[in-house]
C-alpha cells in the first residue's frame, strides 16, 4: 500500500481556506477570497480523484474484495482502554466515492459562486464558510471512528447553519437557519445516545472494530447487545434506531424534514452544495457505513429505515407537486430522492446479490448528487436572472437562458428516470431491489417515481415554457463562463454517470456485484415516468387553467399538500405550546417564584425574627426583668424536673 497520508490534505485544504479567509479575509482578501477558496478546493478535488483512481484501480482491491484501509489514525481523546475518539481516515468504496462527489460538487459550487455571489459584502466570509462546510463534510465521509463522525456531523450542521443564515439580516433566513440547526440537533441527540449504546455494548468507537464485533455471530458483545432489551426491543436495535434518527435528521426524513424547505433561504449555490448533494445524504451515508450491523444484527432497524424512507419519498413527492417556489420544489424533490436512497438501503441485504439495494442506494446517491446539484445551480441561474423564486414570475425563459435550459432539461430527464440518463440506471436498481424484497415499498416507490417525473416537468415547463414572463428592459445574459461551466460539467455527469458500472466498485461486502439489466422490468417504471412527464406537459406547457381546476377539484388534498400536511404547524405547536409554554415558562416561573422565593423567604424570615428579637431589646428595664425571671423559672424547672 502506498503512503496515503496525503489524503489528510483533502479535508485539511478547505479547512486552511476557512481559517485563512475567516481570520484575514475581511481585511486582506476582500476580492481574491473566491479565487483562493476555489484554488484550494481544486487541489483537493484533484487529490480526491487521484485517490479514487488509486483506490479503485491500484491498491484497494485485494483478492477481488475492496478493503477498508485506514491510512491515518491517531488517538484524539482516550476515555478508557479501547474506547477512544480517534481521528483517522478510512478508505473504502463509499468513502472514496463520497470524497469525489463532495469535492467535485463543492468545486462546482465554488466556481459557480465566483459569479453568483460577486459583490456580496461578506464575500470572504461566504467562501470561508464554504471551506468549513467542505472540510466538515470530507471529514465526515472519511471518519474511521463513530465519534469522529459525530464530531464532523455536528460541524456539518453548524456550517450549514452559518450558510443558511448567510443573509443574516433577513428574518426569514435567521428563522430558517435556527430551525435547521435545532431540528438536526434534536436528531443528533438521538445519534449521540445511539453512539453511547453501541459503544457500551461493543466496547469500542472504531467503525471497523465495532462492525466486526457487532456482526460476527459468535461475539460476546453481540450477544450482550441483543440480550439486553428495553420495551421488548433489543439494545442493539435501539442503538441503531437512535443512530438512524440522527441520520434521518440530517437527511430530512419524515418527520424530521421540516427544516429542509426553509433552508432554501440560503444562497442558491449553498442549497446546491449542502441541501442537494452532500450534507443531506450524510444520513444515508451513516446508515451505509453501519450497514453490516443493520443488515446482519438488527433487521428490524433496517426495516424501519426502509419504511421511513418510503414514506418520506412519497410525502415529499406529493408536497413537491403543489409548491410554487422553485427552490422549495427542489428541496422536496431532494427529500423524496433521499427517501429513495434510504429505502433502497432498507430493502437491501448484506452480501452478494442481496446487497443490490445497498449498491443501488449508493449509486443513486452518486447520480443524484450530479443532477440535483445541476438542478439547483440551474434554478440559481434562473433566480439570478429573474430575481424571484416564484413560478408565477417565470415562464418562457428558454430563449433567454438556452444553456441553462438544456442542462436543466437533462437534469429533469435524469431525475425522472428516462433512459439513458443517470437517474434511470440508479432508480431502476432501487426499484428492482424493492421489487425483490418488499412489495409495499415497491409500489409506493413506483407511484412516487411517477410523481417525481410529474413535478419535475411541472417545474421545467413552468420555468421554460408556459406563459412569457415580463422581462423588463435590462436584459443581462446567462452570466459568464464561471456560471455556465459548472452547469455543463454537471450536465455531462447527469447524462453519463449512469454508465458507470457501479456494482463493480461499491457493494455491501466489497465484492463485485453484477447488476443485470432487466428490460422487461424496466418498462413499467419508464412508462410511469413518461406518463408523469406527459401529464406535466399537458398541464403546464401552455398557459391554461387546467392546473387550477384540478387543484380546485382536489381542494382538500391539494391544500393539505400545499401546506405541507400541516407538519410545520404541528411542530410549532409542540415547540411553542409544549416546550415553551408547558416546560420552559413553568421552569422559569418555578425558579423565580418558588426556588428564589424560598431563598428570599428565608431571608425575610431571618429579618422578621431579628426584628422581633430586636423588639425584646426594648430598653425597658421591667421587660428585661420579666424575661430574666421567666428565664430563671424556666431554667429552674428544666434543672429540677427535666435534667434531674
Amino acid at each position: 500500500m502506498p503512503n496515503l497520508t496525503y489524503i489528510a490534505l483533502i479535508p485539511l485544504l478547505p479547512l486552511a481556506g476557512f481559517l485563512l479567509l475567516g481570520i484575514f479575509g475581511r481585511n486582506y482578501f476582500k476580492t481574491t477570497s473566491g479565487i483562493i477558496g476555489t484554488t484550494l478546493l481544486l487541489i483537493a478535488t484533484v487529490l480526491a480523484i487521484y485517490t479514487a483512481y488509486g483506490y479503485f484501480f491500484e491498491y484497494g482491491k485485494v483478492a477481488g474484495v475492496y478493503q477498508k484501509l485506514v491510512p491515518l489514525h491517531y488517538t484524539w481523546l482516550e476515555f478508557s482502554k479501547g474506547v477512544s475518539i480517534d481521528m483517522g481516515i478510512i478508505l473504502d468504496p463509499i468513502s472514496v466515492m463520497m470524497l469525489v462527489v463532495v469535492t467535485f460538487v463543492s468545486l462546482m459550487v465554488h466556481i459557480y459562486s465566483l459569479v453568483y455571489m460577486k459583490g456580496e459584502e461578506r464575500f470572504p466570509t461566504y467562501y470561508a464558510f464554504l471551506g468549513l462546510f467542505t472540510f466538515s463534510m470530507l471529514g465526515l465521509v472519511v471518519s474511521s471512528n463513530i465519534f469522529q463522525m459525530y464530531i464532523f456531523w455536528e460541524l456539518v450542521g453548524v456550517s450549514s447553519f452559518l450558510l443558511i443564515g448567510y443573509y443574516y439580516d433577513r428574518p426569514s433566513a435567521v428563522a430558517a437557519c435556527k430551525k435547521a440547526f435545532i431540528v438536526t440537533r434534536f436528531a443528533d441527540a438521538g445519534f449521540l445516545i445511539g453512539i453511547l449504546i453501541l459503544s457500551f455494548y461493543s466496547g469500542t468507537l472504531d467503525f471497523n472494530t465495532l462492525i466486526q464485533k457487532l456482526t460476527s455471530p459468535d461475539s460476546v458483545e453481540l450477544k450482550n447487545a441483543v440480550a439486553a432489551s428495553f420495551l421488548g426491543v433489543s439494545a442493539l436495535t435501539w442503538g441503531l434506531v437512535l443512530v438512524f434518527i440522527g441520520g434521518a435528521g440530517k437527511s430530512a426524513m419524515f418527520p424530521l424534514h421540516i427544516w429542509l424547505p426553509d433552508a432554501m433561504e440560503g444562497p442558491t449555490p449553498v442549497s446546491a452544495l449542502i441541501h442537494a448533494a452532500t450534507m443531506v445524504v450524510a444520513g444515508v451515508f451513516l446508515v451505509a457505513r453501519l450497514f453490516p450491523v443493520f443488515a446482519i444484527s438488527a433487521p428490524e432497524a433496517l426495516n424501519l429505515v426502509g419504511y421511513v424512507g418510503a414514506i418520506s419519498a412519497l410525502i415529499a413527492a406529493v408536497i413537491a407537486c403543489t409548491q410554487t417556489d422553485i427552490k422549495r420544489v427542489l428541496a422536496y424533490s431532494t427529500m423524496s430522492q433521499i427517501g429513495f436512497m434510504m429505502f433502497a438501503l432498507g430493502v437491501s441485504g448484506h452480501g452478494g446479490e442481496n446487497g443490490l439495494g445497498y449498491t443501488a442506494s449508493m449509486f443513486h446517491l452518486f447520480t443524484h448528487a450530479m443532477f440535483k446539484a445541476l438542478l439547483f445551480l440551474g434554478a440559481g441561474s434562473v433566480i439570478h436572472f429573474i430575481h424571484s423564486n416564484e413560478m408565477k414570475d417565470m415562464g418562457g425563459l428558454r430563449k433567454y437562458l438556452p444553456i441553462t435550459h438544456i442542462t436543466f432539461l437533462i437534469a429533469c430527464l435524469a431525475i425522472a428516470g428516462v433512459p439513458p440518463f443517470a437517474g434511470f440506471f440508479s432508480k431502476e436498481e432501487i426499484l428492482l431491489a424493492a421489487y425483490q424484497h418488499n412489495s409495499i415499498i415497491y409500489y409506493v416507490a413506483l407511484f412516487t417515481s411517477g410523481l417525481t417525473a410529474f413535478y419535475m416537468f411541472r417545474l421545467y415547463f413552468s420555468i421554460f415554457w408556459n406563459k412569457k414572463a415580463d422581462i423588463h428592459g435590462e436584459h443581462h445574459g446567462e452570466g459568464g463562463f464561471a456560471l455556465l461551466m459548472p452547469l455543463i460539467l454537471l450536465a455531462v455527469g447527469a447524462a453519463a454517470a449512469g454508465f458507470i458500472p457501479f456494482g463493480n466498485f461499491v457493494s455491501s461486502d466489497g465484492t463485485k456485484l453484477e447488476s443485470a439489466f432487466h428490460l422487461q422490468f424496466s418498462i413499467l417504471p419508464v412508462a410511469i415516468g413518461l406518463i408523469g412527464i406527459f401529464t406535466a406537459m399537458w398541464l403546464y406547457k401552455k398557459k391554461n387553467d387546467k392546473p387550477d381546476k384540478i387543484a380546485a377539484s382536489l381542494s382538500g388534498l391539494y391544500k393539505a399538500a400545499y401546506r405541507k400536511f400541516y407538519i410545520d404547524e404541528l411542530y410549532t405547536f409542540i415547540t411553542k405550546k409544549i416546550l415553551f409554554n408547558l416546560i420552559g415558562r413553568p421552569a422559569a416561573w418555578f425558579d423565580k417564584n418558588i426556588v428564589d422565593g424560598l431563598v428570599n423567604a428565608t431571608g425575610k424570615a431571618t429579618q422578621t425574627i431579628s426584628e422581633k428579637i430586636k423588639g425584646m431589646q426594648s430598653g425597658k428595664v421591667q421587660q428585661y426583668a420579666i424575661y430574666f425571671l421567666i428565664g430563671v423559672i424556666a431554667l429552674a424547672v428544666l434543672f429540677i424536673y427535666v435534667w434531674k
Binding site: 484524539w76 482516550e78 460541524l155 443574516y168 428574518p171 428563522a175 440537533r185 449504546i197 422559569a588 425558579d591
Partner: protein, 493 residues
Amino acid sequence: MNLLLLILVPLLTATAILLMRNASQVKWVALTGATAQLILAFVLFFAFRKEQAAGNPLQMLFQQQYNWFPSWHISFHLGVDGISVAMILLTAFVVIAGVLVSWNVARMTKEFYFLLILLSLGAYGFFISLDLFVLFFFLEIAVIPKYLLIGIWGNGKKEYSANKLALMLMGGSALVLVGLLGVYFSTPEHTFDLLKLSDIQIPPEVQKICFPLLFVGFGVFTAIFPLHTWVPDGHSSAPTAGSMFLAGISMKLGGYGCLRVAVFLMPQGAKEYSTIIIVLSTIAILYGAFATMMQKDLKYMNAYSSVSHCGFVLLGIGMLTKVSMTGAVMQMVSHGLMTALFFAVIGMIYERTHTRQVNEMGGLLKVMPFIITILFIVGLCSLGLPGLSGFVAEMTVFMGSWQHPDPLHRIATIAACLSIVVTAVYILRAIGQTAMGPIKAGYENLSDATWNEKLAAIILVIGIVAIGTAPFWLNDLVSPASQLILEKIQLVQ
C-alpha cells in the same frame, strides 16, 4: 517548581496596586501581574507534565509544608495534581482576560483591581492547598471580594444580589466548615492534612453526615439545585469582570472542592449519596436549560445556562467513574473559559448598546463583527460544537456516565444528552436576536472591540479552541488524578 510563587505573585501584585498613584499605573501593574500569573501557570503546567512523563509516582507533586498552628495540627501544606493544575491554568486565563476587560472601569479603579487580584489569590491558594484548613481559609478569601465587587461596581439591584450571593456562599462555606470539623474530630490524629486523611479510613457514620455537608457546602458554589439562585442575580448584577471571575473561577471552587474534599476523602459517603447527586444534577441540567430559554436578559441567560452546565460537573462527579470525573474537571475548565468569555462579550455589547435585553437588539453583526464573531464562537461552544471545549467536556461526561448500566444512570445520561438540544434552542435564540436580523435603529454607529477587549477575547478563545481541538493534553493531565480518586472509591465495597 515552588508553589508559593502562585500565592506570592498575586499578593505582590495586590500590594503594588495599593501603592500606585493613578488608574493607568494600576491597570498596567494588574496586567503585568496577571501576565506573570499566566506565565507561572504555564511553567507549572510544563513542569508538572515533565514530572508526570518522568513517571513520578506521587499523587501530589511539588509538595511543601510549613507549620502554621502546630497545636491544632494545621500546616501550610501545598501540592498539586493534574486537576489542580488544570484549575490553575483556567484561573490564570480568566484573570488576565478579566483584567483586560475591565480596562474602562473608571470608579475606584485601584480598589477594583485590588479585589480582582485578591480573588485570584484566594483561588490559587484554594487549588494548591493540601490542608483542609488552609483550603477553607483561601475559600473565604475568594468569597469576600465578590461581595464588594458586586456591591460597589455592580448595576441593577446590586445590593440585593451582593447580599444574596455573599449570604448563600457564606452559608455554603459554613456547611463546609462544619463538615471539615467533623472530619477533623472523627479521626484519632486530629489532622486537617488531606493526604493523611486520605490514608485513614474515615468512619462510615462520619462520612454519612459529613459528606452531604461538604458536598452541599461546595455545591452551593457550583450552583447545585436548588441552591443556585444566587447565580442569576449575582451574575447579572456583577460588573463584567466580576461575572467572569464569578462564573469562571468561583463556581469552579465548588466543583473542585466536591471532588477533592468530599468525594476523595469520603468515598463511602459519595457512593451512598451518588443517587441524590445524580438526580439533583440532572434536574439542574434540564431545569437550568429550560429556565434559560425563557430569559430575555443576556446575563440572566448565561447565568441560567451556567446552572445547566455546572450540572454536568456535578453529574460527572456523581457518576463516580474515572471518565465521568475527568469529564467533570474538563467541564469545569471548559465552562470556566466559556462563561468568562460569554460574560466578557455580553459586557462588551452592553457597553455599546446599553441594554442586555435580547429583544432590544438586532443585526449587531453588521456593526461589530469581531464581538459578534466571538459571541458566535462562545455560543457554539456552549451548545457543544465539536472543535470547541464544551463538546469535549460534555462528551467525556456522557461517556463516563453511560458506563453504569442501571436505569437511573441511563435516564440521567439521556436527559443530559437531550439538554444539549435545549441548549441549542436558547443559544440560537439569543444569537439570532442579538446578532442577526435587521439592525435596530440607533445601533448603526456602534464601534467594534478595542484592543484590550480583542486581546481578552482572543486569549480565552485560544483556551477554548486548544481544549476543543486537542483535548488529549487536558485528558492526560486530569485522568491520572481521577484514576486515583476512583481507586479510593473502588476500595469501598
